[in-house]
Amino acid sequence: MTTTHAPPPASPAAPAAGRRTVPSALLVAGAAALALAAAPLLLDEFRLGLLTRYLCYAIAAVGIAVAWGRGGMLTLGHGVFFGIGAYAMAAHMTLANTPDGGLPSFMVWNGLEALPALWVPFRSLAATLAAVVLLPGAVALLLGWAVFRRRVRGAYFAILNQALAAAFAILLVGQQHLTGGSSGLTDLPVLAGFDLTAPGAGLWLYALVAAVLLGVWAGYSRLMDSRYGALLVAVRASEERVRFLGYDPTWVKTSAYVLSAVAAGAAGALFVPVTGIITPALVGVIPSIQLVLMAALGGRYSLIGAAVGAVALGAAETAFSETFAGGWLYLQGALFVAVIALAPRGLAGLAESAAAAVRRRASAAPPGAGPGAGHPVPGRKA
């Protein structure tokens, strides 16, 4: 038909893309499950504890991959949602470790005589488990709806989130009688009647966190495979165009933001029994940025990539802090710049490019089977 058409695309396998993704996703899922199952056999108890902590971050990173990677919302304040989940769980575990009718010791030091109303619901484990996902979800729903409806996006959205994380940390420090102030909530040895300091407890916690991670990843991946997932990617590309297709982007974005907040809330709630502590420093601005960095490093467009990024960054932090204490923060900054500039699709992108290169080499071998050879000429009008 014509001269202006672009040359055949570089990737010969492209027409089969829809079919190819299903088995490769299963393959990745299988490999991830296998690696998670093998880890307790290969690591000592201390290392397994560290890995469990990284997996908590991985749960939050999967959520960030949904909001930022798919939906284009740079969520620089996820420490807030992580923190809401974490503080809710820590409140419950603090009460579980307090004798009946007594007050947590930090409240006594702050001169409180009765349990504040805000803390009362967290006596119940069921209420706490509901709160760790519903509270972050509700906050994200209100905030997202208010912000996206006014068409706030891009850097403004990121800055707003960042400010929120800063304000949240300041609030936690200021409300010492409710939150334990800057030293946070510690001394949390019991969850649901189990002694977390007992031998073998670490393995159970690891299994729990790994199961939640796999569940969140599988559920969110499946959702991304729906029309809603395509719609989210479309919103990232052009909100305006989506509007002219008859969809209201406000709800598309708000729901993705809520999904990512729920994942962060669950991650925070799991983080507390794993580490036995939560403080404002663990949920403020810097942890919020670190969560985004994890997703960027692993590959924000890939949900599993973001999870791998969380583990990789956690492991790197531990390794470097053990050798050069203090240098880590600078290295982390440099890493972020390097990833954004050189490999914007992160580790997952590098893996995909490598796989594509291997396929190209393999398909280049048989002669005469060039990609452009058999293109049908489009009918004039069908």
């Binding site: 038909m1 014509t2 001269t3 202006t4 058409h5 672009a6 695309p9 492209a14 027409p15 089969a16 893309a17 829809g18 499946r222 959702l223 495979d225 729906s226 029309r227 809603y228 395509a230 719609l231 990617v233 479309a234 990232r236 590309a237 052009s238 305006e240 165009r241 509007r243 002219f244 297709l245 008859g246 969809y247 209201d248 293109h375 049908p376 489009p378 009918g379 004039r380 009008k381 069908a382």
Partner: protein, 249 residues
């Protein structure tokens, strides 16, 4: 002929600049109407007002008997008006088939949007614009002309009552223009189409009814020959175009 779109007294100004100055325009059902005019005549502004992108200072837009003036963009689409943009706005990261599928699903209830998709069938609209063989490609790999067709396929999948096309043949080769003209003529047998166009040759070959805008007002209206014969039109538009053609030759 029944009126499908009735625009009355439409006025839009941006600061001191009046983009539209009391425009009246009626488009009938199953019509293929061309909207022409020199740069700055207000053609795109008119489309923007109809589709809810720009709010008018005065006047009304009535579509299929309902007043749609000032509705938000997605509600106008839901009322049955689809549009394309001057630069084809397709979703490059999605496949060609997914682009059409997404467009087709806009009335789907939320719980069905969340379900996993069956990707085995190719939307029939792709067949119609001759892109069915590219269904699995990413839209970002398409040439400019094919993107325009993909955008038209996306609109067709929405089964709108009125299609607004903003310069659909800009940047296309002669063969692509010809094919687009045939496609639009075929579409106009089922749907009402309003085309904003600059390209005079395209207009001569495919237009049956033309409205000329100039400085925010309707200057002339009628069949292409009558409009071409109009002296005022020749002066503001065709004259200049003729000069340009002469200069090109």
């Amino acid at each position: 002929m029944t009126a499908l779109l009735t625009i009355s007294g439409l006025t839009v100004s941006f600061g001191s600049f009046t983009a539209l100055d009391g425009v009246d325009l009626t488009v009938h059902e199953k019509e293929l109407r061309f909207l022409i005019g020199p740069n700055g005549a207000g053609k795109t502004t008119l489309i923007d007002v109809v589709t809810g992108r720009t709010r008018p200072d005065a006047g009304s837009v009535v579509f299929a008997g309902a007043d749609i003036t000032g509705l938000s963009e997605h509600r106008v689409v839901r009322a049955g008006i689809g549009r394309t943009f001057q630069t084809a706005a397709v979703f490059e990261a999605l496949t060609v088939a997914d682009n059409v599928d997404l467009a087709a699903s806009f009335r789907m209830p939320a719980h069905r949007l969340l379900r996993r998709r069956d990707r085995s069938s190719v939307p029939e609209e792709l067949d119609r614009v001759g892109l069915a063989h590219l269904a699995g490609r990413r839209a970002g790999e398409l040439s400019h002309g094919r993107r325009q067709w993909l955008e038209i396929a996306m609109l067709l999948a929405q089964k709108p009552g009125l299609l607004l096309l903003d310069e659909p043949v800009a940047g296309m080769s002669a063969a692509e223009r010809e094919r687009t003209g045939e496609l639009l003529t075929a579409i106009a047998e089922e749907t009402t189409v309003l085309v904003v166009e600059h390209d005079m040759e395209f207009l001569r070959r495919h237009a049956r009814a033309v409205t000329v805008l100039h400085e925010g007002r309707v200057l002339a209206e009628g069949d292409p020959d009558a409009v071409r014969a109009d002296e005022r039109v020749a002066e503001v538009y065709l004259g200049r175009a003729a000069d340009r053609e002469a200069a090109d030759a």
